[in-house]
């Protein structure tokens, strides 16, 4: 299996300063794409900071720096590092120097200063009442509009602070992490098998992508290759999840512009796929199927044929719906030029997934770092450079068609054989894996010992993409915010973890 094995680069005597100044570079970029930054504890509980970059090679590049002393911020060279360094500061208490904004990110007013859960004990953490200051926009006629955390609808919680003049948004500040559940800490001490269930609960509508990414990281750590049949069925599950997600998103966009007929049509197609999944493998969202080593059970070929038929039917109906949506003048009017995310911002903030591809960033883990059965599949990666709501809708519509085709091709040539291999879990475990979830690159990094995890880090595409959203909103009217937000379709829980 050709996958992204992170090669830890020993820093040796070099200082943190020097190491960060010589950031890895990709071919045509000043700095390689940042995948994630996270902390861990070494064998003597000394803090370490991990930087993972995608340099365009088959493998991701990982740099480890000591974290007990001050660590120089890389934000000025790599703007995408901003939230990661704030999180590192919150969770590990790593001293970051030169960061322009180190306000608490993950923990809110109720959390006491100086308690860093990944390092300190977390029993009976007292309730506190510290102050959080939003950035203030001053000037004639500037008003603040505060929205959330509880929103008007069946949506996850998060806070948006708009500074507006009239209807036009001058500035938008996000305050998230309302659904922070300490998930990465929960992995500590858990057996690698039980860890799958935690991974499935990070972002419910992308649970299969999380389960596969987590399982692949464990398999990498054990140097296990899953049987071809398991790998092919995983591809079907991943593409089905993408198809469901994209249909749902396009329907959601129609809801937000009041096109109820199309919205109802989309949720109807989505439900038909969920029911087909339920018939096929007794779970609507493919929960509890992928495990380290393969799949928990095989799926009957006859049932896969039925699933395949449902997918083909759904794809036909969705393509018909998409045609209707894209040719409706009022939709064109609302979608086009709304919420433009420029390619420069998308690259600076290392945006991933359909949002990146709609802003001209040609990036797809399935093609760039093949996993599962993707090395054998042939597919194009749609990219467009407009960066508006329409571009993000079009990318999803095109990807949905590709997903349906991939499911069909894989199901028609499904390898025979077993779907689960035993894992050799003794000794040190160290592995990582990336998966293209419906929202973009999802990366798991884990460490463990004798079958128990000591650290598991999740880079979620939503954490990466949320900071870019305000850039797309500024300059638009506040009434377009729900539409722009929906076109990003980011998971709050996936971001907050």
């Amino acid at each position: 299996m050709k996958e992204n094995t992170p090669a830890a680069v020993p820093i040796g005597e070099r200082s943190a300063w020097e190491a960060t100044l010589s950031l890895p570079r990709a071919k045509d970029e000043a700095v390689a794409r940042l995948v994630t930054i996270f902390g861990s504890l070494g064998s003597n509980r000394e803090r370490q900071v991990h930087y993972v970059f995608d340099t365009g090679d088959a493998c991701y590049r990982e740099i480890v720096l000591p974290g007990d002393g001050p660590v120089r911020s890389v934000v000025l060279e790599v703007p995408a590092a901003a939230w990661y360094e704030r999180e590192l500061h919150d969770q590990y208490g790593v001293e970051i120097t030169g960061h322009p904004d180190l306000r608490p990110l993950v923990f809110h007013d109720n959390w006491p200063d100086g308690v860093h859960p990944m390092v300190d004990g977390v029993d009976n953490v007292p309730w506190s009442n510290r102050e959080y200051r939003f950035l203030e926009v001053q000037g004639d006629g500037v008003a603040e509009v505060a929205v959330g955390p509880v929103h008007a609808g069946v949506i996850e919680p998060g806070h948006f602070r708009f500074s507006v003049v009239g209807d036009t948004v001058l500035h938008l500040e996000l305050r998230h992490f309302y659904t922070h559940k300490g998930t990465e800490k929960l992995f500590e001490g858990t057996s690698v098998h039980a860890g799958t269930m935690i991974a499935e609960s990070v972002s419910g509508d992308n649970c299969f992508a999380h389960a596969v990414a987590y399982s692949q990281a464990v398999e990498k750590a054990c140097q296990t290759v899953v049987p071809p049949r398991a790998s092919a069925i995983r591809l079907i599950g991943l593409e089905l999840e993408r198809l469901v997600c994209h249909i749902s998103d396009v329907g959601g966009l129609c809801t937000d512009v009041g096109f109820s007929v199309a919205a109802a049509y989309a949720v109807r197609i989505k439900e038909s796929l969920l029911q087909a999944s339920s018939q096929c493998c007794a779970t609507r969202y493919w929960r509890g199927i992928a495990v380290p080593g393969g799949l928990r059970f095989d799926i009957d070929s006859r049932k896969l044929v039925e699933l395949n038929q449902a997918v083909a039917q759904a794809a036909r109906e969705f393509s018909d719906l998409a045609q209707l949506i894209l040719s409706t003048p009022s939709i064109q009017n609302r979608f086009e030029t709304a919420g433009i995310l420029t390619r420069d911002v998308a690259r600076d903030l290392a945006i991933v997934g359909p949002v990146a591809r709609a802003s001209g960033v040609d990036l797809d883990v399935r093609r760039d770092h093949p996993y599962c059965h993707y090395g054998r599949a042939r597919f194009g990666v749609p990219v467009t450079h407009y960066g508006d709501v329409m571009a993000r809708a079009r990318i999803r519509i095109e990807e949905a068609a590709i997903s349906a085709r991939l499911i069909e091709e894989t199901a028609n040539a499904l390898p025979a054989g077993s779907v689960l291999v035993p894992l050799e879990l003794l000794g040190e475990l160290h592995g990582s894996s990336a998966v293209e979830s419906p929202r973009g690159e999802l990366y798991y990094w884990l460490e463990g010992h004798n079958g128990r995890l000591t650290r598991c880090h999740i880079k979620s595409p939503s954490f990466q993409n949320w900071p870019a959203m305000p850039f797309a909103v500024v300059g638009n009217i506040i009434a377009d915010f729900p539409l722009i937000n929906k076109s990003f379709n980011l998971s709050y829980s996936g971001c907050d973890r």
């Binding site: 955390p149 509880v150 922070h180 969202y285 829980s493």
Partner: protein, 265 residues
């Protein structure tokens, strides 16, 4: 243009699932059902070992071992099926929801291999009753207290043309001030605790609060995390519990109607 849209709508067949087929249906949830006759102490012990959320427990009652299954803690992972030698299977129907958490607990005497405690009747809500229960109007405000969005996905599905919650006169409203019922999902996180209390206060009395999902009922897989306060009832009073991870739309309909039948606790 508009005629094309109307034409497409009219071409669609009616997809609504009849209420009789919805109530008690739990397809796609993988909730466990115990076949009492196949239970042995050894199997019971294995169930306790594989359960990730301690939904299965062995307890002594009058010096007899009992196996207890708390649906409020079950995340439907299905890990208990394989080692059970057929004693645990996927439930075909499921209508376990309750006023109190202990109504979600089932109990089997391992010596006599029989279920003890009141057996659960089949869901009783019938078509005629539904409208009298609701007076054709129930306004629900959904509140995410920290969920993974799995429950949200299923709650949104209630509005689709298959479940069509509006046919019962049930609406989702945008403000807690318009609501009769709070449908709360997720473990209550530290960061959401104040917002959950404020939302509860904003709902006019009389009000119903329903905790949804394993996390809402018990904290689920997140129970015990430093960033989580606990289940919904750790923060606000709860009138009903709907288990499942996530509960399917059919289980949600069943649960909401059951809770209404009882009224506020």
């Amino acid at each position: 243009m508009i005629f094309e849209v109307i034409e497409r709508s009219l071409r669609q067949p009616n997809r609504v699932i009849p209420v009789e087929a919805v109530l008690g249906n739990c397809d796609g949830s993988r909730m466990p059902e115990v076949i009492a006759a196949r239970l042995t102490p050894a199997i019971a012990q294995r169930l306790v070992e594989v359960c990730p959320t301690a939904a299965f427990r062995i307890e002594e009652h009058d010096s007899r071992p009992h196996l207890r299954l708390s649906y409020g803690e079950c995340i439907g992972c299905g890990r208990c099926f394989e080692p059970s030698e057929g004693a645990v299977v996927t439930a075909k129907t499921f209508s376990w929801c309750g006023h109190a958490k202990d109504q979600l607990v089932r109990d089997w005497d391992l010596d006599s291999r029989t279920e003890v405690g009141p057996l659960r009747p089949e869901p009783k809500v019938v078509r005629g009753q539904i409208h009298s229960l609701l007076g054709r109007a129930l306004n629900i405000r959904q509140l995410d207290a920290g969920s993974c969005n799995g429950c949200e996905a299923e709650i949104s599905a209630l509005a689709n043309p298959y479940y069509d919650l509006e046919r019962f006169g049930i609406h989702f409203v945008a403000s807690p001030k318009h609501a009769d019922m709070l449908l709360v999902t997720g473990p209550v996180t530290r960061n959401m605790a104040d917002a959950v209390k404020a939302t509860y206060e904003a709902v006019p009395s009389p009000k119903l609060v329903v905790a949804v999902g394993a996390c809402g009922c018990s904290g689920g897989i997140f129970a015990g995390s430093h960033a989580v306060v606990g289940a919904v009832d750790a923060v606000i009073p709860v009138d009903g519990y709907i288990p499942g991870c996530p509960p399917t739309p059919a289980m949600l309909v069943t649960g909401i109607l059951e809770v209404l039948r009882w009224g506020p606790s």
